[in-house]
Subunit: 381 residues, 2 copies
């Protein structure tokens, strides 16, 4: 029997019970709304996790790479949105999925790209569903709702051979900058309004707009209105992380993924200890160092082996490739962290941390010290 105590470190631990609770909570939130929850699998990249997230929903997912799309299609998921600007070079893979019977939609914000995709789709003999990407305040990709370019691009996608205008899509990544519930609600409303406004523009121009899609974990959690939307995409809620906790997406006790590590050395002269989880095991994401958060936890928050109790104010203060350095506010609690002790590190940004592993070691809900299944994940592109 594999237990937390016998597992080699570093290992990526998944608390199945918390995952199920987090997924059920989001599913319940939209169950009666008429909005379809299309979970974003970019954090989990695992069919076992997808099955839990899809329970009670319509069955469609969102992905961030075509490798994810192909993997999930191999496991029977046949309604997929690829939510990163499509480039023509990826059309052969998209077409292969379509010929297998998978309904796959892409996004674009560029007339140049739309024309290049059209040419390539014609060459592949397919008609690709495309949504117009909108910028609702994140200032990354996307057109501004209300601008003439939305209708221009919409008409092109509608008229060009090889493309079909499927709708509009936006992601309020700027919700990550919010530091209050009020601000989160306002960003959620901006996200909704951008999508609804662009959809109305298209329809007023006589163009179709079947899908009106929004989504980020903070706005999905806190948005007050979903009027005139058709679809919600969010993903990190399944696992949670310390950053999402700090901006109010969930409680600290809801974080379902952590890294099991071993204390490999003491440095009393530095008031620090070393663990065998560094930049590769934890990622180098520094999101909890963002302005306005309650606590900068460095590269991860240090809990006891059970994951239930934080040890003092210990955090991973520095990382090297395979070493993490534990530091604390005040005197370092060496007595609670002897050499050889096991800790659980809660990640700053779970999408980046999980990406460093080929799978999850899953805690048995019946006995949380017991490590049962291994759930593989799909990395790369």
């Amino acid at each position: 029997m594999t237990t937390l105590a016998s597992l080699e470190t570093p290992s990526l631990i998944l608390d199945r019970e918390k995952l199920e609770q987090n997924a059920a909570r989001m599913t319940a939130r939209f169950a009666a709304s008429g909005l379809r929850l299309r979970p974003h699998m970019k954090s989990a990249k695992s069919i076992d996790v997808a099955r839990i997230a899809l329970a009670g929903n319509f069955g469609g997912i969102t992905v961030s790479t075509l490798k994810e799309a192909e993997y999930f299609a191999d496991h029977g998921i046949d309604d997929i949105t690829y939510a990163v600007s499509l480039v023509p070079e990826k059309l052969p893979r998209v077409a292969r999925l379509m010929r297998r019977g998978v309904r796959i939609g892409g996004i674009t914000d560029s007339l140049t790209m739309a024309e290049a995709i059209s040419r390539r789709a014609v060459a592949e003999g397919v008609v690709v569903d495309l949504m117009i990407e909108l910028d609702s305040g994140e200032r990354r990709g996307g057109l501004t709702a209300g601008s003439a370019s939305v209708v221009d691009l919409g008409r092109a996608l509608h008229d060009l051979p090889g493309t079909r205008l499927a709708g509009v899509l936006t992601h309020a990544g700027n919700s990550y900058l919010c530091r209050s519930l009020e601000a989160l609600r306002e960003v959620a409303e901006q996200e909704r309004r951008a999508a609804v406004t662009a959809a109305a523009q298209l329809r007023a121009a006589g163009l179709p707009c079947e899908v009106v899609s929004v989504g980020s974990t903070p706005t999905a959690t806190h948005g007050l209105s979903h009027a005139d939307l058709t679809e919600m995409r969010c993903g990190v809620y399944m696992f949670g992380d310390v950053f999402q906790h700090e901006i109010g997406s969930h409680g600290l006790e809801d974080i379902a993924v952590s890294v099991l590590a071993t204390v490999i050395g003491h440095r009393p002269d530095l008031d620090a200890a070393l663990i065998d989880a560094g930049g590769l095991a934890l990622s180098k994401d520094r999101s909890t160092g963002a302005p306005g958060l309650a606590e900068d936890i460095g590269f991860g928050m240090v809990m006891d082996e059970s994951g239930a109790r934080r040890i003092g104010r210990v955090r991973v203060g520095h990382v090297y490739q395979e070493h993490g350095m534990l530091v604390s506010d005040g005197a370092f609690p060496f007595d609670q962290l002897p050499v050889g002790a096991r800790v659980r590190v809660l990640p700053n940004h779970v999408c980046m941390t999980a990406a460093m592993y080929d799978g999850y070691r899953v805690l048995d809900p019946a006995d949380p010290r017991r490590v049962g299944d291994f759930w593989p994940r799909v990395n790369g592109w």
Copy 2:
């Protein structure tokens, strides 16, 4: 025929000619010194790269994970140093390698660990080679050369059943803080002196000290004396990166690894463009933002498709999971970076970037637009 122009993005590109030059330069540096070069494979994690790095050397390597050790042993390498503090839980894997005829050495800086390793080694029926880890100024793991604890630990390793005192080892990670050739030479000398001092202590106490091992790419490149050392470990020199260039380890033109990416959008209102390589394709390493460097290049330096010419002062200013945002000093050169264009991103810290991929797409030295071999790499633990 696969070319840079037809390859899907993001892809990890390896310029074999530069790799061979970098490897040959380091090998030549130590060829007549009596010092054995034991290349550190933690950056490359590839047998194809190892074969190039080992040409002209004695054949031993350094690794940072046991997964690397097992992989390289499977490919015939039988002299391996595992240069991260050994924990008893890893003894079964170490013992399996030893029973296969692999000479594998570990390190420790802790009497508690030495005793626990001894017990576990006895249970496994093996005698493990251990070196004493020294801190020569990095302030990570390791004992201070000259302190009584070096002899105490050395005697324990010598006397305990199941362990053999093999020598001393240190890594001048603090060389990364140097901003001048003079400072680098001083740190290299500190590194050397720490190892030599501890070796002398052990011998004066009647203990053996066969291996006197040092190594980091900057100190290996610039150190003036190697007197009384037996072994040099360094690794990142094979590939190089922008950070190593900025601290003077090599020229910008020596960087052998880059990420091929596609421009997927323009944001004239933000003076920025988007590429399809983000935090997962590039890592979130911010090492070029360290104090005292000439230029903070964000998450990577942007070159043209050939990798030979930097485009203006363009760099990856922000990363999201799958998006990178290109920014520039002054007006953004949209004309040089049309939507659909290919770029090559030089990494800040190549060890972290390469870790995001399952292998290298290798440029053909005869035709640098042609992508020939795929060289797999071993990730995880």
